[in-house]
Protein backbone atom coordinates (compact mmCIF):
# COMPACT_ATOMS: atom_id res chain seq x y z
CA UNK A 1 0.00 0.00 0.00
CA UNK A 2 1.33 3.42 -0.97
CA UNK A 3 1.60 6.21 1.59
CA UNK A 4 0.04 8.85 -0.65
CA UNK A 5 -1.54 7.86 -3.88
CA UNK A 6 -3.02 10.26 -6.42
CA UNK A 7 -5.17 8.19 -8.71
CA UNK A 8 -6.34 9.51 -12.10
CA UNK A 9 -7.35 12.97 -10.93
CA UNK A 10 -9.02 15.58 -13.13
CA UNK A 11 -9.55 19.20 -12.18
CA UNK A 12 -11.08 22.25 -13.85
CA UNK A 13 -10.86 26.04 -13.61
CA UNK A 14 -14.27 26.97 -14.96
CA UNK A 15 -14.46 25.21 -18.34
CA UNK A 16 -10.74 24.73 -18.66
CA UNK A 17 -9.30 21.37 -17.81
CA UNK A 18 -6.16 21.97 -15.76
CA UNK A 19 -5.42 18.44 -14.55
CA UNK A 20 -5.95 15.45 -16.74
CA UNK A 21 -5.79 11.94 -15.40
CA UNK A 22 -2.93 12.69 -13.02
CA UNK A 23 -1.56 9.72 -11.09
CA UNK A 24 1.38 9.86 -8.70
CA UNK A 25 2.61 7.74 -5.81
CA UNK A 26 4.56 9.16 -2.89
CA UNK A 27 6.30 7.04 -0.25
CA UNK A 28 6.93 8.13 3.29
CA UNK A 29 10.09 10.25 3.39
CA UNK A 30 10.00 10.88 -0.34
CA UNK A 31 10.83 14.29 -1.73
CA UNK A 32 8.94 14.49 -4.98
CA UNK A 33 9.52 17.47 -7.24
CA UNK A 34 7.07 18.63 -9.87
CA UNK A 35 8.67 20.44 -12.77
CA UNK A 36 7.40 21.68 -16.10
CA UNK A 37 6.33 24.86 -17.92
CA UNK A 38 4.01 27.46 -16.42
CA UNK A 39 0.38 26.48 -16.59
CA UNK A 40 1.18 22.79 -16.71
CA UNK A 41 -0.85 22.10 -13.54
CA UNK A 42 1.92 21.75 -10.95
CA UNK A 43 0.47 24.29 -8.51
CA UNK A 44 -3.04 23.07 -9.19
CA UNK A 45 -2.06 19.58 -8.13
CA UNK A 46 -0.86 20.91 -4.77
CA UNK A 47 -4.01 23.01 -4.40
CA UNK A 48 -6.12 19.95 -5.08
CA UNK A 49 -4.31 18.03 -2.34
CA UNK A 50 -5.14 20.67 0.30
CA UNK A 51 -8.69 21.12 -0.95
CA UNK A 52 -8.37 24.61 -2.44
CA UNK A 53 -9.48 23.15 -5.76
CA UNK A 54 -11.83 20.21 -6.01
CA UNK A 55 -10.86 17.24 -8.12
CA UNK A 56 -13.73 16.49 -10.52
CA UNK A 57 -12.83 12.85 -10.83
CA UNK A 58 -10.25 10.40 -9.56
CA UNK A 59 -9.23 9.63 -6.01
CA UNK A 60 -6.59 10.72 -3.54
CA UNK A 61 -5.64 8.02 -1.03
CA UNK A 62 -3.72 8.61 2.18
CA UNK A 63 -2.50 5.30 3.60
CA UNK A 64 -5.12 3.54 1.59
CA UNK A 65 -7.97 5.73 2.74
CA UNK A 66 -9.68 7.97 0.17
CA UNK A 67 -10.07 11.65 1.08
CA UNK A 68 -13.56 12.94 0.45
CA UNK A 69 -13.01 16.63 -0.34
CA UNK A 70 -16.74 17.35 -0.27
CA UNK A 71 -17.04 16.08 3.29
CA UNK A 72 -16.11 18.66 5.94
CA UNK A 73 -14.73 16.20 8.41
CA UNK A 74 -12.70 14.28 5.88
CA UNK A 75 -11.32 17.54 4.50
CA UNK A 76 -10.43 18.76 7.97
CA UNK A 77 -8.60 15.52 8.67
CA UNK A 78 -6.72 15.77 5.40
CA UNK A 79 -5.72 19.36 6.14
CA UNK A 80 -4.23 18.27 9.43
CA UNK A 81 -1.88 16.02 7.50
CA UNK A 82 -1.00 18.32 4.58
CA UNK A 83 0.50 21.78 4.89
CA UNK A 84 1.13 24.09 1.98
CA UNK A 85 3.58 26.97 1.61
CA UNK A 86 2.71 29.47 -1.11
CA UNK A 87 4.80 31.38 -3.63
CA UNK A 88 3.66 34.72 -2.15
CA UNK A 89 4.06 33.54 1.50
CA UNK A 90 0.45 34.61 2.32
CA UNK A 91 1.34 35.56 5.87
CA UNK A 92 -1.25 37.26 8.03
CA UNK A 93 -0.22 40.91 7.81
CA UNK A 94 -1.96 41.87 11.04
CA UNK A 95 -0.04 39.40 13.19
CA UNK A 96 3.49 39.28 14.49
CA UNK A 97 5.80 36.53 13.30
CA UNK A 98 5.16 34.51 16.46
CA UNK A 99 1.38 34.94 16.21
CA UNK A 100 1.42 33.87 12.56
CA UNK A 101 3.03 30.60 13.59
CA UNK A 102 0.95 29.96 16.70
CA UNK A 103 -2.54 31.08 15.67
CA UNK A 104 -3.61 27.85 14.01
CA UNK A 105 -2.30 25.36 16.62
CA UNK A 106 -3.71 27.42 19.50
CA UNK A 107 -6.98 28.72 18.12
CA UNK A 108 -7.94 25.92 15.77
CA UNK A 109 -6.37 22.81 17.19
CA UNK A 110 -6.91 24.11 20.73
CA UNK A 111 -3.47 23.17 22.01
CA UNK A 112 -2.04 24.93 25.09
CA UNK A 113 -0.61 28.32 24.22
CA UNK A 114 2.61 28.00 26.26
CA UNK A 115 3.58 24.68 24.73
CA UNK A 116 2.85 25.89 21.18
CA UNK A 117 4.79 29.09 21.71
CA UNK A 118 7.81 27.21 22.98
CA UNK A 119 7.69 24.97 19.89
CA UNK A 120 7.18 27.97 17.63
CA UNK A 121 10.27 29.68 19.04
CA UNK A 122 12.30 26.53 18.32
CA UNK A 123 10.90 26.33 14.78
CA UNK A 124 11.65 29.99 14.13
CA UNK A 125 15.17 29.54 15.46
CA UNK A 126 15.59 26.58 13.16
CA UNK A 127 14.70 28.72 10.13
CA UNK A 128 17.03 31.43 11.45
CA UNK A 129 14.44 33.91 12.66
CA UNK A 130 14.72 33.61 16.42
CA UNK A 131 15.33 37.36 16.63
CA UNK A 132 12.22 38.36 14.72
CA UNK A 133 9.45 36.97 16.91
CA UNK A 134 7.86 40.37 17.53
CA UNK A 135 8.23 41.72 13.99
CA UNK A 136 5.37 42.10 11.54
CA UNK A 137 5.55 40.60 8.05
CA UNK A 138 5.88 44.00 6.37
CA UNK A 139 9.06 44.59 8.35
CA UNK A 140 10.74 41.48 6.92
CA UNK A 141 12.45 40.70 3.62
CA UNK A 142 10.84 38.27 1.20
CA UNK A 143 13.18 35.47 2.19
CA UNK A 144 12.46 36.00 5.87
CA UNK A 145 8.73 36.06 5.23
CA UNK A 146 8.95 32.82 3.29
CA UNK A 147 10.83 31.18 6.14
CA UNK A 148 8.13 32.34 8.55
CA UNK A 149 5.57 30.77 6.22
CA UNK A 150 7.51 27.49 6.33
CA UNK A 151 7.63 27.64 10.14
CA UNK A 152 3.89 28.38 10.21
CA UNK A 153 3.10 25.30 8.18
CA UNK A 154 5.44 23.12 10.27
CA UNK A 155 3.79 24.28 13.51
CA UNK A 156 0.76 22.18 12.60
CA UNK A 157 2.99 19.11 12.53
CA UNK A 158 1.94 18.03 9.05
CA UNK A 159 3.03 14.70 7.66
CA UNK A 160 3.37 16.00 4.13
CA UNK A 161 4.70 19.43 3.27
CA UNK A 162 3.71 21.00 -0.04
CA UNK A 163 5.95 23.77 -1.34
CA UNK A 164 4.51 25.80 -4.20
CA UNK A 165 7.30 27.69 -6.00
CA UNK A 166 8.47 29.03 -2.68
CA UNK A 167 11.52 30.79 -4.13
CA UNK A 168 9.98 32.24 -7.30
CA UNK A 169 9.08 35.58 -5.75
CA UNK A 170 12.48 36.08 -4.12
CA UNK A 171 15.63 37.97 -5.06
CA UNK A 172 18.40 35.59 -6.16
CA UNK A 173 20.33 36.41 -3.00
CA UNK A 174 17.44 35.42 -0.78
CA UNK A 175 16.76 32.15 -2.57
CA UNK A 176 19.68 30.47 -0.85
CA UNK A 177 18.43 31.03 2.68
CA UNK A 178 15.05 29.49 1.85
CA UNK A 179 16.58 26.56 -0.02
CA UNK A 180 18.89 25.89 2.94
CA UNK A 181 15.83 25.62 5.15
CA UNK A 182 14.23 23.12 2.79
CA UNK A 183 17.46 21.10 2.53
CA UNK A 184 17.38 20.83 6.30
CA UNK A 185 13.84 19.48 6.19
CA UNK A 186 14.73 16.99 3.47
CA UNK A 187 17.62 15.74 5.57
CA UNK A 188 15.21 15.12 8.46
CA UNK A 189 13.32 12.72 6.23
CA UNK A 190 10.21 14.82 5.88
CA UNK A 191 7.82 13.87 3.10
CA UNK A 192 7.55 16.77 0.67
CA UNK A 193 6.10 17.61 -2.70
CA UNK A 194 7.94 20.52 -4.22
CA UNK A 195 7.05 22.66 -7.20
CA UNK A 196 10.19 24.45 -8.27
CA UNK A 197 12.14 25.90 -11.16
CA UNK A 198 15.48 25.65 -9.35
CA UNK A 199 16.76 22.63 -11.28
CA UNK A 200 20.06 22.29 -9.43
CA UNK A 201 18.24 22.25 -6.13
CA UNK A 202 15.59 19.85 -7.36
CA UNK A 203 18.27 17.43 -8.53
CA UNK A 204 19.97 17.60 -5.15
CA UNK A 205 17.02 17.08 -2.80
CA UNK A 206 14.51 15.01 -4.76
CA UNK A 207 14.10 11.30 -4.56
CA UNK A 208 11.79 11.44 -7.54
CA UNK A 209 10.85 13.97 -10.20
CA UNK A 210 7.61 14.26 -12.15
CA UNK A 211 7.55 16.29 -15.35
CA UNK A 212 4.20 17.89 -16.12
CA UNK A 213 2.84 19.49 -19.25
CA UNK A 214 -0.67 20.67 -20.17
CA UNK A 215 -2.24 19.19 -17.05
CA UNK A 216 -0.68 15.76 -17.41
CA UNK A 217 2.23 14.01 -15.78
CA UNK A 218 4.29 13.06 -18.77
CA UNK A 219 7.22 11.37 -17.10
CA UNK A 220 8.17 10.26 -13.59
CA UNK A 221 11.46 8.86 -12.41
CA UNK A 222 14.92 9.21 -10.92
CA UNK A 223 15.96 12.89 -10.73
CA UNK A 224 19.09 12.53 -12.84
CA UNK A 225 17.34 10.51 -15.50
CA UNK A 226 14.44 12.95 -15.87
CA UNK A 227 16.71 15.98 -16.01
CA UNK A 228 19.43 14.55 -18.21
CA UNK A 229 17.99 11.72 -20.29
CA UNK A 230 14.22 11.99 -20.38
CA UNK A 231 12.34 9.47 -22.51
CA UNK A 232 9.77 11.83 -23.99
CA UNK A 233 10.37 14.51 -26.61
CA UNK A 234 8.39 17.10 -24.68
CA UNK A 235 10.55 16.66 -21.58
CA UNK A 236 13.72 16.69 -23.65
CA UNK A 237 12.65 19.93 -25.33
CA UNK A 238 11.89 21.53 -21.93
CA UNK A 239 15.17 20.45 -20.33
CA UNK A 240 17.09 21.63 -23.38
CA UNK A 241 15.61 25.09 -23.00
CA UNK A 242 16.15 25.50 -19.28
CA UNK A 243 19.56 23.91 -18.98
CA UNK A 244 20.97 26.14 -21.70
CA UNK A 245 21.39 29.13 -19.39
Amino acid sequence: MKYLSIDQCDAFYGDQKVLECVSLDVDKGDVVSLIGPSGSGKSTLLRVLVGLNQPTSGRILLEGEAIDYKNRRSLKKARERFAIVFQQYNLFQNMTVLKNVTVAPVKIQGRPKKEVEAEAVLLLEKVGLGEKLKSYPDELSGGQQQRVAIARSLALKPEILLLDEVTSALDPELVTEVLDTIRLLAKEGRTMIIVSHEMGFVLEVSSKIAFMDAGRIIEVGEPRKILEQPDTDRAREFMGKILRH
Binding site: G51, F86, Q88, F92, Q93, N94, A104, Y136, R152
Partner: protein, 224 residues
Protein backbone atom coordinates in the same frame (compact mmCIF):
# COMPACT_ATOMS: atom_id res chain seq x y z
CA UNK B 1 -26.13 96.74 18.28
CA UNK B 2 -26.15 97.12 21.98
CA UNK B 3 -25.49 93.53 23.06
CA UNK B 4 -22.86 93.25 25.77
CA UNK B 5 -21.06 89.96 25.96
CA UNK B 6 -21.46 88.74 29.46
CA UNK B 7 -20.28 85.26 30.34
CA UNK B 8 -20.66 85.50 34.11
CA UNK B 9 -24.35 84.48 34.02
CA UNK B 10 -23.53 81.41 31.96
CA UNK B 11 -20.46 80.25 33.84
CA UNK B 12 -22.46 78.69 36.65
CA UNK B 13 -24.09 76.38 34.08
CA UNK B 14 -20.82 74.86 32.87
CA UNK B 15 -21.05 71.69 35.02
CA UNK B 16 -24.63 71.28 33.78
CA UNK B 17 -23.41 71.53 30.17
CA UNK B 18 -20.58 69.09 30.80
CA UNK B 19 -23.13 66.64 32.14
CA UNK B 20 -24.99 67.08 28.84
CA UNK B 21 -21.81 66.45 26.87
CA UNK B 22 -21.37 63.21 28.81
CA UNK B 23 -24.82 62.04 27.69
CA UNK B 24 -23.96 62.95 24.07
CA UNK B 25 -20.80 60.89 24.34
CA UNK B 26 -22.68 57.93 25.77
CA UNK B 27 -25.30 57.94 23.03
CA UNK B 28 -22.68 58.26 20.29
CA UNK B 29 -20.51 55.52 21.75
CA UNK B 30 -23.31 53.02 22.31
CA UNK B 31 -24.90 53.72 18.92
CA UNK B 32 -21.53 53.33 17.21
CA UNK B 33 -20.77 50.03 18.92
CA UNK B 34 -24.24 48.69 18.16
CA UNK B 35 -23.90 49.91 14.59
CA UNK B 36 -20.54 48.14 14.24
CA UNK B 37 -22.10 44.84 15.29
CA UNK B 38 -25.07 45.25 12.93
CA UNK B 39 -22.67 46.36 10.20
CA UNK B 40 -20.43 43.33 10.73
CA UNK B 41 -23.30 40.88 10.37
CA UNK B 42 -24.73 42.93 7.49
CA UNK B 43 -21.40 42.85 5.69
CA UNK B 44 -21.00 39.10 6.32
CA UNK B 45 -24.53 38.51 5.03
CA UNK B 46 -23.86 40.56 1.91
CA UNK B 47 -20.52 38.88 1.26
CA UNK B 48 -21.24 35.25 2.12
CA UNK B 49 -25.03 35.07 2.36
CA UNK B 50 -27.59 33.58 0.00
CA UNK B 51 -29.87 35.54 -2.33
CA UNK B 52 -32.68 36.05 0.18
CA UNK B 53 -30.37 37.19 2.97
CA UNK B 54 -28.67 39.63 0.66
CA UNK B 55 -32.01 41.06 -0.47
CA UNK B 56 -33.16 41.65 3.11
CA UNK B 57 -29.90 43.38 4.02
CA UNK B 58 -30.00 45.44 0.81
CA UNK B 59 -33.52 46.62 1.63
CA UNK B 60 -32.44 47.64 5.14
CA UNK B 61 -29.38 49.50 3.89
CA UNK B 62 -31.34 51.25 1.12
CA UNK B 63 -33.99 52.38 3.59
CA UNK B 64 -31.42 53.72 6.06
CA UNK B 65 -29.27 55.51 3.51
CA UNK B 66 -32.17 57.03 1.56
CA UNK B 67 -34.24 58.53 4.37
CA UNK B 68 -33.25 61.29 6.81
CA UNK B 69 -32.10 60.10 10.20
CA UNK B 70 -34.49 62.57 11.79
CA UNK B 71 -37.46 60.92 10.10
CA UNK B 72 -36.22 57.49 11.21
CA UNK B 73 -36.14 58.61 14.84
CA UNK B 74 -39.53 60.37 14.49
CA UNK B 75 -40.87 57.07 13.30
CA UNK B 76 -39.58 55.23 16.37
CA UNK B 77 -40.66 57.95 18.80
CA UNK B 78 -44.03 59.02 17.43
CA UNK B 79 -45.23 56.29 15.05
CA UNK B 80 -44.43 53.13 17.01
CA UNK B 81 -46.47 54.16 20.08
CA UNK B 82 -49.53 53.97 17.79
CA UNK B 83 -48.97 50.22 17.60
CA UNK B 84 -48.23 49.98 21.29
CA UNK B 85 -44.45 50.16 21.31
CA UNK B 86 -43.45 52.91 23.71
CA UNK B 87 -39.97 54.33 24.07
CA UNK B 88 -38.62 57.29 26.00
CA UNK B 89 -36.58 59.85 24.12
CA UNK B 90 -33.24 58.33 25.18
CA UNK B 91 -34.24 54.87 23.97
CA UNK B 92 -35.70 56.15 20.71
CA UNK B 93 -32.67 58.27 19.88
CA UNK B 94 -30.24 55.52 20.81
CA UNK B 95 -32.09 52.87 18.81
CA UNK B 96 -32.58 55.22 15.86
CA UNK B 97 -28.92 56.18 15.74
CA UNK B 98 -27.83 52.56 16.16
CA UNK B 99 -29.97 51.35 13.27
CA UNK B 100 -28.85 54.26 11.15
CA UNK B 101 -25.18 53.61 11.88
CA UNK B 102 -25.76 49.91 11.18
CA UNK B 103 -26.86 50.72 7.64
CA UNK B 104 -23.86 52.86 6.83
CA UNK B 105 -21.45 50.53 8.61
CA UNK B 106 -22.75 47.55 6.63
CA UNK B 107 -21.62 49.23 3.44
CA UNK B 108 -18.33 50.47 4.92
CA UNK B 109 -17.42 47.05 6.32
CA UNK B 110 -18.49 45.26 3.17
CA UNK B 111 -15.93 47.35 1.29
CA UNK B 112 -13.42 46.24 3.91
CA UNK B 113 -14.34 42.57 3.37
CA UNK B 114 -13.71 42.95 -0.34
CA UNK B 115 -10.27 44.40 0.30
CA UNK B 116 -9.03 41.39 2.29
CA UNK B 117 -6.26 39.66 0.38
CA UNK B 118 -7.56 36.45 -1.16
CA UNK B 119 -4.16 34.87 -0.49
CA UNK B 120 -4.51 35.38 3.28
CA UNK B 121 -7.93 33.76 3.19
CA UNK B 122 -6.52 30.79 1.30
CA UNK B 123 -3.77 30.42 3.89
CA UNK B 124 -6.40 30.57 6.64
CA UNK B 125 -8.44 27.96 4.79
CA UNK B 126 -5.55 25.52 4.51
CA UNK B 127 -4.68 26.06 8.17
CA UNK B 128 -8.15 24.76 8.94
CA UNK B 129 -10.02 27.95 9.87
CA UNK B 130 -13.79 28.02 9.48
CA UNK B 131 -15.69 31.14 8.41
CA UNK B 132 -16.07 32.59 11.91
CA UNK B 133 -12.39 32.02 12.66
CA UNK B 134 -11.41 33.71 9.40
CA UNK B 135 -13.58 36.70 10.30
CA UNK B 136 -12.18 36.85 13.81
CA UNK B 137 -8.48 36.40 13.11
CA UNK B 138 -7.96 37.59 9.55
CA UNK B 139 -10.80 39.74 8.23
CA UNK B 140 -11.67 41.91 11.24
CA UNK B 141 -8.12 42.96 12.13
CA UNK B 142 -7.53 43.74 8.47
CA UNK B 143 -10.65 45.84 7.99
CA UNK B 144 -10.16 47.65 11.28
CA UNK B 145 -6.78 48.79 10.05
CA UNK B 146 -7.90 49.70 6.54
CA UNK B 147 -11.17 51.31 7.59
CA UNK B 148 -9.92 53.03 10.70
CA UNK B 149 -9.89 56.57 9.23
CA UNK B 150 -13.40 56.31 7.80
CA UNK B 151 -14.69 54.69 10.97
CA UNK B 152 -13.16 57.49 13.03
CA UNK B 153 -14.83 60.09 10.81
CA UNK B 154 -18.17 58.40 11.16
CA UNK B 155 -17.74 58.26 14.90
CA UNK B 156 -17.06 62.02 15.10
CA UNK B 157 -20.05 62.74 12.85
CA UNK B 158 -22.23 60.60 15.09
CA UNK B 159 -21.02 62.44 18.20
CA UNK B 160 -22.10 65.72 16.61
CA UNK B 161 -25.26 64.09 15.30
CA UNK B 162 -26.45 63.43 18.84
CA UNK B 163 -27.51 67.11 18.93
CA UNK B 164 -30.59 65.90 17.07
CA UNK B 165 -31.73 64.34 20.32
CA UNK B 166 -32.60 67.83 21.63
CA UNK B 167 -35.64 67.76 19.34
CA UNK B 168 -36.98 64.81 21.31
CA UNK B 169 -36.42 66.54 24.63
CA UNK B 170 -33.35 64.54 25.54
CA UNK B 171 -31.17 66.75 27.72
CA UNK B 172 -27.81 66.15 26.16
CA UNK B 173 -25.40 68.97 25.35
CA UNK B 174 -27.60 70.82 22.83
CA UNK B 175 -30.77 70.16 24.82
CA UNK B 176 -29.22 71.64 27.91
CA UNK B 177 -27.91 74.63 25.96
CA UNK B 178 -31.48 75.33 24.82
CA UNK B 179 -32.64 75.17 28.44
CA UNK B 180 -30.00 77.67 29.58
CA UNK B 181 -30.78 79.93 26.66
CA UNK B 182 -34.46 79.98 27.60
CA UNK B 183 -33.57 80.87 31.15
CA UNK B 184 -30.87 83.51 30.60
CA UNK B 185 -31.41 84.78 27.03
CA UNK B 186 -27.60 84.87 26.75
CA UNK B 187 -27.66 83.26 23.28
CA UNK B 188 -24.20 84.25 22.07
CA UNK B 189 -22.52 83.11 25.28
CA UNK B 190 -24.54 79.92 25.60
CA UNK B 191 -24.07 78.69 22.06
CA UNK B 192 -20.43 79.71 21.73
CA UNK B 193 -19.72 77.85 24.94
CA UNK B 194 -21.68 74.86 23.64
CA UNK B 195 -19.74 74.89 20.38
CA UNK B 196 -16.50 75.03 22.34
CA UNK B 197 -17.55 72.02 24.37
CA UNK B 198 -18.35 70.08 21.18
CA UNK B 199 -14.87 70.92 19.88
CA UNK B 200 -13.30 69.70 23.12
CA UNK B 201 -15.33 66.48 22.94
CA UNK B 202 -14.42 65.74 19.32
CA UNK B 203 -10.73 66.58 19.75
CA UNK B 204 -10.51 64.33 22.79
CA UNK B 205 -12.34 61.59 20.88
CA UNK B 206 -9.98 61.96 17.91
CA UNK B 207 -6.94 61.68 20.15
CA UNK B 208 -8.36 58.61 21.87
CA UNK B 209 -9.19 57.02 18.52
CA UNK B 210 -5.70 57.71 17.28
CA UNK B 211 -4.23 56.05 20.35
CA UNK B 212 -6.53 53.05 19.99
CA UNK B 213 -5.68 52.76 16.29
CA UNK B 214 -1.93 52.95 16.96
CA UNK B 215 -1.93 50.46 19.80
CA UNK B 216 -4.41 47.86 18.57
CA UNK B 217 -4.50 48.11 14.80
CA UNK B 218 -1.10 49.48 13.77
CA UNK B 219 -2.70 52.49 12.09
CA UNK B 220 -0.30 55.28 11.23
CA UNK B 221 -1.97 58.68 11.23
CA UNK B 222 -2.09 62.24 12.44
CA UNK B 223 -4.89 64.14 14.15
CA UNK B 224 -4.39 67.47 12.41
Amino acid sequence: MNYTIHFSQVVEYIPYLIGGAWISLQVAFLAFCGGMVIGLFGAMAKTFGGRMTRMVVDAYVSFITNTPQLVQIYFLYFALPEVGILMNSYQAVLLGMTLNAGGYLTEIQRAGFLSVRQSELEAAETLGMNLMQKVRYVILPHIMKVLFPSLSNLYILMTLGTSMAAIFGLEELTGRALNINAETFRSIEVFSLTALLYIVVTVVASLLLLAVGRVFFRVKGKVF
